[in-house]
Protein backbone atom coordinates (compact mmCIF):
# COMPACT_ATOMS: atom_id res chain seq x y z
CA UNK A 1 0.00 0.00 0.00
CA UNK A 2 1.07 3.62 -0.31
CA UNK A 3 2.30 5.87 2.40
CA UNK A 4 4.28 3.82 4.83
CA UNK A 5 5.03 6.60 7.32
CA UNK A 6 8.09 7.21 9.34
CA UNK A 7 7.67 7.69 13.08
CA UNK A 8 7.73 11.51 12.75
CA UNK A 9 4.63 11.44 10.47
CA UNK A 10 6.41 12.54 7.31
CA UNK A 11 6.14 10.49 4.15
CA UNK A 12 9.11 8.37 3.12
CA UNK A 13 11.05 8.59 -0.13
CA UNK A 14 10.29 4.92 -0.75
CA UNK A 15 6.57 5.63 -0.43
CA UNK A 16 6.81 8.37 -3.03
CA UNK A 17 8.59 6.05 -5.46
CA UNK A 18 6.05 3.33 -4.88
CA UNK A 19 3.20 5.77 -5.49
CA UNK A 20 4.75 6.98 -8.74
CA UNK A 21 4.76 3.46 -10.17
CA UNK A 22 1.34 4.10 -11.66
CA UNK A 23 2.67 6.84 -13.93
CA UNK A 24 3.61 5.38 -17.28
CA UNK A 25 5.65 6.73 -20.18
CA UNK A 26 3.21 6.67 -23.12
CA UNK A 27 5.85 5.77 -25.73
CA UNK A 28 7.90 3.24 -23.79
CA UNK A 29 4.88 1.58 -22.16
CA UNK A 30 6.51 1.16 -18.78
CA UNK A 31 6.20 2.99 -15.49
CA UNK A 32 8.57 5.90 -14.89
CA UNK A 33 10.08 4.38 -11.74
CA UNK A 34 11.21 1.13 -13.36
CA UNK A 35 12.50 3.19 -16.30
CA UNK A 36 14.73 5.08 -13.87
CA UNK A 37 13.21 8.45 -14.73
CA UNK A 38 12.47 9.55 -11.16
CA UNK A 39 15.46 11.17 -9.54
CA UNK A 40 16.47 13.27 -6.55
CA UNK A 41 13.52 12.34 -4.38
CA UNK A 42 13.67 14.52 -1.27
CA UNK A 43 11.40 14.94 1.70
CA UNK A 44 11.60 17.79 4.22
CA UNK A 45 8.71 17.74 6.63
CA UNK A 46 5.58 17.92 4.50
CA UNK A 47 7.44 19.07 1.38
CA UNK A 48 8.18 16.49 -1.25
CA UNK A 49 10.28 17.19 -4.31
CA UNK A 50 11.68 15.12 -7.15
CA UNK A 51 12.78 15.29 -10.75
CA UNK A 52 11.35 13.39 -13.69
CA UNK A 53 13.95 12.96 -16.42
CA UNK A 54 12.39 12.04 -19.77
CA UNK A 55 14.25 10.89 -22.85
CA UNK A 56 12.81 13.30 -25.40
CA UNK A 57 13.34 17.04 -25.29
CA UNK A 58 9.68 17.99 -25.58
CA UNK A 59 7.37 15.17 -24.73
CA UNK A 60 3.83 16.24 -25.73
CA UNK A 61 2.30 14.72 -22.62
CA UNK A 62 4.97 16.16 -20.34
CA UNK A 63 2.61 18.56 -18.59
CA UNK A 64 -0.06 15.90 -18.20
CA UNK A 65 2.50 13.53 -16.70
CA UNK A 66 3.75 16.21 -14.32
CA UNK A 67 0.18 16.89 -13.17
CA UNK A 68 -0.56 13.20 -12.75
CA UNK A 69 2.58 12.73 -10.67
CA UNK A 70 1.77 15.80 -8.61
CA UNK A 71 -1.74 14.60 -7.77
CA UNK A 72 -0.55 11.12 -6.83
CA UNK A 73 2.16 12.31 -4.48
CA UNK A 74 -0.02 15.10 -3.04
CA UNK A 75 -2.56 12.46 -2.05
CA UNK A 76 -0.05 10.65 0.17
CA UNK A 77 -0.57 11.16 3.90
CA UNK A 78 1.97 13.60 5.31
CA UNK A 79 2.48 15.51 2.05
CA UNK A 80 1.61 19.19 1.97
CA UNK A 81 3.65 20.47 -0.95
CA UNK A 82 4.90 18.76 -4.08
CA UNK A 83 7.62 20.27 -6.26
CA UNK A 84 8.45 18.55 -9.54
CA UNK A 85 11.23 19.44 -11.97
CA UNK A 86 10.87 18.10 -15.50
CA UNK A 87 14.11 17.54 -17.37
CA UNK A 88 15.20 15.56 -20.37
CA UNK A 89 18.25 13.54 -21.21
CA UNK A 90 18.24 12.14 -24.73
CA UNK A 91 19.32 8.50 -24.80
CA UNK A 92 22.15 7.46 -27.05
CA UNK A 93 22.49 4.63 -29.56
CA UNK A 94 25.33 2.65 -28.00
CA UNK A 95 28.19 1.67 -30.29
CA UNK A 96 31.95 1.42 -30.06
CA UNK A 97 32.53 2.51 -33.65
CA UNK A 98 30.29 5.53 -33.15
CA UNK A 99 32.12 6.34 -29.92
CA UNK A 100 35.41 6.35 -31.80
CA UNK A 101 34.24 8.27 -34.84
CA UNK A 102 31.67 10.62 -33.30
CA UNK A 103 32.23 10.86 -29.58
CA UNK A 104 29.60 13.15 -28.18
CA UNK A 105 26.97 12.46 -30.85
CA UNK A 106 24.14 10.49 -29.29
CA UNK A 107 22.04 9.69 -32.32
CA UNK A 108 22.69 9.71 -36.07
CA UNK A 109 19.41 9.98 -37.97
CA UNK A 110 19.45 10.02 -41.78
CA UNK A 111 16.46 11.32 -43.74
CA UNK A 112 15.93 9.38 -46.94
CA UNK A 113 13.62 9.37 -49.93
CA UNK A 114 13.17 7.05 -52.86
CA UNK A 115 13.20 9.72 -55.49
CA UNK A 116 14.16 13.37 -55.66
CA UNK A 117 11.73 16.24 -55.51
CA UNK A 118 9.75 15.06 -52.49
CA UNK A 119 11.00 17.92 -50.34
CA UNK A 120 13.39 15.90 -48.21
CA UNK A 121 15.84 18.75 -47.60
CA UNK A 122 13.13 21.19 -46.54
CA UNK A 123 11.73 18.53 -44.21
CA UNK A 124 15.21 17.75 -42.80
CA UNK A 125 15.92 21.42 -42.10
CA UNK A 126 12.57 22.06 -40.42
CA UNK A 127 12.86 18.90 -38.32
CA UNK A 128 16.37 19.82 -37.22
CA UNK A 129 15.17 23.28 -36.22
CA UNK A 130 12.07 21.95 -34.46
CA UNK A 131 14.20 19.55 -32.38
CA UNK A 132 16.55 22.39 -31.56
CA UNK A 133 13.64 24.60 -30.47
CA UNK A 134 12.60 21.84 -28.08
CA UNK A 135 15.96 22.18 -26.37
CA UNK A 136 17.99 19.45 -28.05
CA UNK A 137 21.50 19.95 -29.40
CA UNK A 138 21.21 19.31 -33.11
CA UNK A 139 23.53 18.94 -36.09
CA UNK A 140 22.46 18.92 -39.75
CA UNK A 141 24.70 17.16 -42.24
CA UNK A 142 23.91 17.74 -45.90
CA UNK A 143 25.16 14.58 -47.58
CA UNK A 144 23.43 15.34 -50.90
CA UNK A 145 26.66 16.00 -52.68
CA UNK A 146 25.14 16.45 -56.14
CA UNK A 147 22.47 18.95 -55.15
CA UNK A 148 23.30 20.38 -51.75
CA UNK A 149 20.40 22.63 -50.84
CA UNK A 150 20.82 22.89 -47.08
CA UNK A 151 22.99 26.06 -47.18
CA UNK A 152 20.25 27.86 -49.14
CA UNK A 153 17.39 26.60 -46.97
CA UNK A 154 19.27 27.43 -43.78
CA UNK A 155 20.36 30.83 -45.07
CA UNK A 156 24.05 30.16 -44.55
CA UNK A 157 26.40 32.51 -46.35
CA UNK A 158 29.60 31.87 -44.46
CA UNK A 159 32.37 29.36 -44.84
CA UNK A 160 33.16 26.79 -42.17
CA UNK A 161 36.32 27.44 -40.17
CA UNK A 162 39.24 25.11 -39.64
CA UNK A 163 39.41 23.49 -36.22
CA UNK A 164 42.14 21.70 -34.30
CA UNK A 165 43.94 18.64 -35.72
CA UNK A 166 42.92 19.08 -39.33
CA UNK A 167 39.19 19.02 -38.69
CA UNK A 168 36.49 21.47 -39.74
CA UNK A 169 34.14 23.32 -37.45
CA UNK A 170 30.51 23.20 -38.65
CA UNK A 171 28.70 26.50 -39.20
CA UNK A 172 26.27 27.34 -36.41
CA UNK A 173 23.04 28.69 -37.82
CA UNK A 174 19.80 29.28 -35.90
CA UNK A 175 21.23 27.11 -33.11
CA UNK A 176 21.93 24.12 -35.35
CA UNK A 177 25.42 22.98 -36.44
CA UNK A 178 25.47 22.67 -40.22
CA UNK A 179 27.86 20.98 -42.64
CA UNK A 180 27.34 20.69 -46.40
CA UNK A 181 29.18 19.96 -49.59
CA UNK A 182 27.63 23.21 -50.72
CA UNK A 183 30.13 25.11 -48.56
CA UNK A 184 33.00 23.83 -50.66
CA UNK A 185 31.58 23.94 -54.15
CA UNK A 186 30.81 27.19 -55.96
CA UNK A 187 27.29 27.64 -57.26
CA UNK A 188 28.43 27.49 -60.84
CA UNK A 189 30.32 24.25 -60.36
CA UNK A 190 29.00 20.73 -60.66
CA UNK A 191 30.18 17.88 -58.46
CA UNK A 192 30.86 14.93 -60.72
CA UNK A 193 32.07 12.20 -58.43
CA UNK A 194 32.32 8.45 -58.46
CA UNK A 195 31.94 5.90 -55.67
CA UNK A 196 35.24 6.10 -53.82
CA UNK A 197 35.01 9.91 -53.63
CA UNK A 198 31.55 9.69 -52.09
CA UNK A 199 32.79 7.18 -49.55
CA UNK A 200 35.64 9.57 -48.71
CA UNK A 201 33.17 12.42 -48.30
CA UNK A 202 31.09 10.45 -45.81
CA UNK A 203 34.32 9.64 -43.97
CA UNK A 204 35.25 13.32 -43.85
CA UNK A 205 31.82 14.52 -42.78
CA UNK A 206 31.71 12.04 -39.94
CA UNK A 207 35.22 11.93 -38.50
CA UNK A 208 36.65 15.12 -39.97
CA UNK A 209 34.06 17.54 -38.61
CA UNK A 210 34.10 18.86 -35.06
CA UNK A 211 30.47 18.09 -34.25
CA UNK A 212 30.92 18.31 -30.49
CA UNK A 213 28.12 17.19 -28.19
CA UNK A 214 24.90 16.52 -30.06
CA UNK A 215 21.65 14.82 -29.13
CA UNK A 216 20.70 14.34 -32.77
CA UNK A 217 22.73 14.50 -35.98
CA UNK A 218 20.22 14.72 -38.84
CA UNK A 219 21.70 13.62 -42.16
CA UNK A 220 20.04 14.85 -45.36
CA UNK A 221 20.77 12.01 -47.77
CA UNK A 222 20.83 12.18 -51.55
CA UNK A 223 17.67 10.70 -53.05
CA UNK A 224 17.54 7.01 -53.86
CA UNK A 225 19.74 4.12 -52.87
CA UNK A 226 23.42 4.64 -53.54
CA UNK A 227 26.97 4.95 -52.32
CA UNK A 228 26.33 7.59 -49.69
CA UNK A 229 23.55 5.56 -48.05
CA UNK A 230 25.68 2.43 -48.19
CA UNK A 231 28.76 4.15 -46.79
CA UNK A 232 26.80 5.63 -43.91
CA UNK A 233 25.29 2.26 -43.03
CA UNK A 234 28.72 0.64 -43.15
CA UNK A 235 30.59 3.22 -41.14
CA UNK A 236 28.47 3.36 -38.01
CA UNK A 237 25.35 1.76 -36.61
CA UNK A 238 22.73 4.42 -37.29
CA UNK A 239 19.94 5.08 -34.78
CA UNK A 240 17.41 4.78 -37.58
CA UNK A 241 16.22 6.39 -40.77
CA UNK A 242 13.18 8.57 -41.47
CA UNK A 243 11.76 8.06 -44.97
CA UNK A 244 10.03 10.92 -46.77
CA UNK A 245 7.56 10.26 -49.54
CA UNK A 246 4.74 12.04 -51.31
CA UNK A 247 1.36 10.31 -51.27
CA UNK A 248 1.55 9.49 -54.95
CA UNK A 249 1.88 5.85 -55.94
CA UNK A 250 5.00 6.33 -58.03
CA UNK A 251 6.90 8.09 -55.26
CA UNK A 252 5.77 5.43 -52.82
CA UNK A 253 6.93 2.53 -54.91
CA UNK A 254 10.37 4.09 -55.17
CA UNK A 255 10.37 4.99 -51.46
CA UNK A 256 9.77 1.31 -50.85
CA UNK A 257 13.07 0.50 -52.54
CA UNK A 258 14.83 2.79 -50.07
CA UNK A 259 12.99 1.11 -47.19
CA UNK A 260 14.01 -2.33 -48.42
CA UNK A 261 17.63 -1.25 -48.72
CA UNK A 262 17.77 -0.03 -45.12
CA UNK A 263 16.05 -3.18 -43.90
CA UNK A 264 18.62 -5.28 -45.71
CA UNK A 265 21.41 -3.35 -44.01
CA UNK A 266 19.72 -3.84 -40.63
CA UNK A 267 19.24 -0.11 -40.30
CA UNK A 268 16.10 0.50 -38.22
CA UNK A 269 13.34 2.50 -39.88
CA UNK A 270 12.11 5.14 -37.45
CA UNK A 271 9.10 5.96 -39.60
CA UNK A 272 7.55 7.35 -42.74
CA UNK A 273 6.70 11.01 -43.35
CA UNK A 274 4.19 11.99 -45.99
CA UNK A 275 5.19 15.30 -47.55
CA UNK A 276 3.08 17.41 -49.92
CA UNK A 277 0.13 15.60 -48.43
CA UNK A 278 -2.60 17.94 -49.56
CA UNK A 279 -2.93 21.55 -50.62
CA UNK A 280 -5.03 24.14 -48.82
CA UNK A 281 -5.76 27.26 -50.81
CA UNK A 282 -4.62 30.28 -48.80
CA UNK A 283 -7.43 32.40 -50.22
CA UNK A 284 -10.54 30.27 -50.05
CA UNK A 285 -9.40 27.39 -47.87
CA UNK A 286 -10.36 24.67 -50.36
CA UNK A 287 -8.46 21.46 -49.81
CA UNK A 288 -7.07 19.71 -52.86
CA UNK A 289 -5.26 16.42 -52.87
CA UNK A 290 -2.86 17.18 -55.70
CA UNK A 291 -0.69 14.11 -55.23
CA UNK A 292 -3.42 11.97 -53.75
CA UNK A 293 -3.50 11.57 -50.01
CA UNK A 294 -2.89 9.06 -47.29
CA UNK A 295 -0.89 6.72 -49.49
CA UNK A 296 2.25 6.91 -47.39
CA UNK A 297 0.31 6.31 -44.18
CA UNK A 298 -1.31 3.22 -45.68
CA UNK A 299 2.03 1.92 -46.89
CA UNK A 300 3.59 2.49 -43.47
CA UNK A 301 0.71 0.60 -41.84
CA UNK A 302 1.04 -2.20 -44.35
CA UNK A 303 4.70 -2.66 -43.55
CA UNK A 304 4.27 -2.17 -39.81
CA UNK A 305 6.30 1.02 -39.77
CA UNK A 306 5.51 4.02 -37.59
CA UNK A 307 3.83 6.90 -39.40
CA UNK A 308 5.36 10.19 -38.29
CA UNK A 309 2.91 12.61 -39.89
CA UNK A 310 1.50 14.39 -42.92
CA UNK A 311 2.98 17.66 -44.07
CA UNK A 312 0.76 19.67 -46.40
CA UNK A 313 1.79 21.26 -49.66
CA UNK A 314 1.89 24.94 -48.77
CA UNK A 315 3.39 27.92 -50.48
CA UNK A 316 4.63 29.31 -47.17
CA UNK A 317 6.81 26.25 -46.59
CA UNK A 318 8.48 26.74 -49.93
CA UNK A 319 8.91 30.52 -49.74
CA UNK A 320 10.34 30.41 -46.23
CA UNK A 321 12.83 27.75 -47.32
CA UNK A 322 13.76 29.70 -50.45
CA UNK A 323 14.26 32.73 -48.23
CA UNK A 324 16.70 30.88 -45.99
CA UNK A 325 14.43 30.95 -42.91
CA UNK A 326 12.49 27.68 -42.68
CA UNK A 327 8.93 28.01 -41.44
CA UNK A 328 9.44 26.63 -37.91
CA UNK A 329 11.78 29.55 -37.47
CA UNK A 330 10.09 32.28 -39.50
CA UNK A 331 6.56 31.57 -38.22
CA UNK A 332 6.80 29.25 -35.22
CA UNK A 333 3.23 29.82 -34.03
CA UNK A 334 1.68 28.99 -37.39
CA UNK A 335 -0.27 25.76 -37.96
CA UNK A 336 2.33 24.74 -40.58
CA UNK A 337 5.17 25.09 -38.09
CA UNK A 338 3.00 23.10 -35.69
CA UNK A 339 2.86 20.25 -38.18
CA UNK A 340 6.66 20.05 -38.31
CA UNK A 341 6.87 20.32 -34.52
CA UNK A 342 4.53 17.36 -34.13
CA UNK A 343 6.48 15.27 -36.68
CA UNK A 344 9.66 16.14 -34.76
CA UNK A 345 8.03 15.04 -31.48
CA UNK A 346 7.02 11.75 -33.07
CA UNK A 347 10.52 11.27 -34.45
CA UNK A 348 12.09 11.96 -31.03
CA UNK A 349 9.67 9.48 -29.46
CA UNK A 350 10.61 6.77 -31.97
CA UNK A 351 14.30 7.43 -31.31
CA UNK A 352 13.68 6.95 -27.58
CA UNK A 353 11.79 3.74 -28.19
CA UNK A 354 14.44 2.46 -30.55
CA UNK A 355 17.27 3.17 -28.09
CA UNK A 356 15.29 1.50 -25.34
CA UNK A 357 14.90 -1.62 -27.50
CA UNK A 358 18.55 -1.40 -28.43
CA UNK A 359 19.46 -1.68 -24.79
CA UNK A 360 17.73 -5.01 -24.79
CA UNK A 361 19.38 -6.24 -27.99
CA UNK A 362 22.73 -4.44 -28.21
CA UNK A 363 24.87 -4.26 -31.33
CA UNK A 364 26.91 -7.45 -31.73
CA UNK A 365 29.86 -7.92 -29.35
CA UNK A 366 33.12 -8.87 -31.01
CA UNK A 367 35.58 -10.62 -28.73
CA UNK A 368 38.25 -11.81 -31.06
Amino acid sequence: MFGRNRTNGAVSEAAILKALEVVRDPDLHRDIVSLGFVKDVRVAGGNASFTIELTTPACPVRDKMKEEARQIVAALPGVQNVEITMTSQVRSTPSETKAQLLPGVKNVVPVASGKGGVGKSTVSANLALALSQMGARVGLMDADVYGPSIPLIMGVHQQPQAAADNRIRPVEQYGVKVMSMGFFVREDQAVIWRGPMLHKMVDQFLGGVEWGELDYLIVDLPPGTGDVQLSLCQKIPLTGVAVVSTPQDVALRVALKAILMFEKLNCPILGVIENMSHFVCSTCGTREEIFGSGGARLEAERRGLPFLGEIPLATAIRTSADGGRPIVLSDPESPLAGVFQRVAENLAAQISIRNMQGELEPVVKINF
Binding site: T97, Q234, I236, I366, F368
Partner: protein
Protein backbone atom coordinates in the same frame (compact mmCIF):
# COMPACT_ATOMS: atom_id res chain seq x y z
CA UNK B 1 12.08 -3.55 -38.87
CA UNK B 2 11.87 -7.30 -39.43
CA UNK B 3 12.66 -9.08 -36.22
CA UNK B 4 12.73 -12.53 -37.77
CA UNK B 5 16.27 -12.25 -39.19
CA UNK B 6 18.74 -13.95 -36.85
CA UNK B 7 21.65 -11.70 -35.92
CA UNK B 8 24.82 -12.48 -33.97
CA UNK B 9 25.00 -11.68 -30.30
CA UNK B 10 28.69 -12.42 -29.92
CA UNK B 11 31.59 -13.21 -32.23
CA UNK B 12 34.56 -14.85 -30.53
CA UNK B 13 37.38 -17.33 -30.98
CA UNK B 14 37.00 -21.06 -31.29
CA UNK B 15 40.20 -23.08 -30.94
CA UNK B 16 43.15 -20.85 -31.69
CA UNK B 17 42.18 -19.34 -35.02
CA UNK B 18 38.60 -20.29 -35.82
CA UNK B 19 35.57 -18.08 -35.46
CA UNK B 20 32.57 -18.78 -33.26
CA UNK B 21 29.28 -16.93 -33.61
CA UNK B 22 26.52 -17.03 -31.04
CA UNK B 23 23.19 -15.97 -32.60
CA UNK B 24 20.22 -14.29 -30.96
CA UNK B 25 17.98 -17.29 -31.67
CA UNK B 26 20.23 -19.61 -29.68
CA UNK B 27 22.08 -21.06 -32.69
CA UNK B 28 25.83 -21.32 -32.44
CA UNK B 29 28.15 -21.74 -35.41
CA UNK B 30 31.88 -22.33 -35.78
CA UNK B 31 33.79 -21.44 -38.93
CA UNK B 32 37.19 -22.96 -39.62
CA UNK B 33 39.70 -20.22 -40.45
CA UNK B 34 40.80 -21.39 -43.87
CA UNK B 35 37.25 -22.31 -44.95
CA UNK B 36 36.09 -18.80 -44.05
CA UNK B 37 38.97 -17.22 -45.95
CA UNK B 38 38.13 -19.26 -49.03
CA UNK B 39 34.55 -18.04 -48.73
CA UNK B 40 35.54 -14.41 -49.13
CA UNK B 41 32.93 -12.72 -51.30
CA UNK B 42 34.84 -9.63 -52.33
CA UNK B 43 35.06 -8.62 -55.98
CA UNK B 44 38.58 -10.00 -56.44
CA UNK B 45 37.68 -13.40 -55.03
CA UNK B 46 34.29 -13.82 -56.67
CA UNK B 47 33.37 -12.34 -60.03
CA UNK B 48 30.83 -9.54 -59.59
CA UNK B 49 29.28 -10.31 -62.93
CA UNK B 50 29.12 -14.09 -63.10
CA UNK B 51 29.43 -15.13 -59.44
CA UNK B 52 32.21 -17.47 -60.48
CA UNK B 53 34.85 -18.26 -57.88
CA UNK B 54 38.07 -16.51 -58.92
CA UNK B 55 40.17 -17.19 -55.85
CA UNK B 56 42.65 -20.03 -56.41
CA UNK B 57 42.90 -21.96 -53.11
CA UNK B 58 46.50 -22.82 -53.91
CA UNK B 59 47.37 -19.14 -53.42
CA UNK B 60 46.03 -19.11 -49.86
CA UNK B 61 48.46 -20.36 -47.15
CA UNK B 62 47.37 -23.48 -45.24
CA UNK B 63 47.69 -21.65 -41.94
CA UNK B 64 45.78 -18.52 -42.96
CA UNK B 65 43.93 -17.05 -39.97
CA UNK B 66 42.07 -13.88 -38.96
CA UNK B 67 44.18 -11.14 -37.39
CA UNK B 68 41.20 -9.00 -36.45
CA UNK B 69 37.45 -8.72 -36.97
CA UNK B 70 35.56 -5.43 -37.10
CA UNK B 71 31.87 -4.60 -37.46
CA UNK B 72 30.44 -3.13 -40.66
CA UNK B 73 27.36 -1.15 -39.70
CA UNK B 74 24.82 -3.47 -38.18
CA UNK B 75 24.77 -6.08 -40.88
CA UNK B 76 28.23 -7.53 -41.49
CA UNK B 77 31.82 -7.99 -40.35
CA UNK B 78 35.12 -7.32 -42.02
CA UNK B 79 38.04 -9.67 -41.44
CA UNK B 80 41.74 -8.76 -41.70
CA UNK B 81 43.52 -11.95 -42.71
CA UNK B 82 47.10 -13.06 -42.04
CA UNK B 83 47.73 -13.29 -45.81
CA UNK B 84 47.04 -9.58 -46.14
CA UNK B 85 43.55 -9.91 -47.58
CA UNK B 86 41.00 -7.59 -45.99
CA UNK B 87 38.43 -6.52 -48.55
CA UNK B 88 35.79 -9.14 -47.83
CA UNK B 89 32.59 -8.05 -46.13
CA UNK B 90 30.83 -11.04 -44.58
CA UNK B 91 27.15 -10.26 -44.10
CA UNK B 92 25.33 -11.91 -41.18
CA UNK B 93 22.90 -13.32 -43.71
CA UNK B 94 25.72 -15.04 -45.61
CA UNK B 95 27.42 -16.26 -42.44
CA UNK B 96 24.18 -17.79 -41.21
CA UNK B 97 23.58 -19.48 -44.56
CA UNK B 98 27.11 -20.91 -44.45
CA UNK B 99 26.42 -22.53 -41.11
CA UNK B 100 23.21 -24.27 -42.07
CA UNK B 101 22.32 -26.96 -42.77
CA UNK B 102 25.94 -28.17 -42.93
CA UNK B 103 28.86 -26.74 -40.99
CA UNK B 104 32.34 -27.65 -42.22
CA UNK B 105 33.90 -30.30 -39.99
CA UNK B 106 37.41 -31.64 -39.57
CA UNK B 107 36.22 -35.23 -39.84
CA UNK B 108 33.74 -35.72 -42.60
CA UNK B 109 31.22 -38.20 -41.33
CA UNK B 110 27.55 -38.96 -41.42
CA UNK B 111 26.74 -36.60 -38.58
CA UNK B 112 24.36 -33.79 -39.50
CA UNK B 113 24.11 -30.49 -37.71
Amino acid sequence: MSASKPIPVEISRANQHDVRIRWNDGHESVYLARDLRLRCGCATCVSEMTGKEMLDPATVPADVHPLSISPVGRYAIQIHWSDGHATGIYTFEHLRALSQPYAPAQNVGTRSF
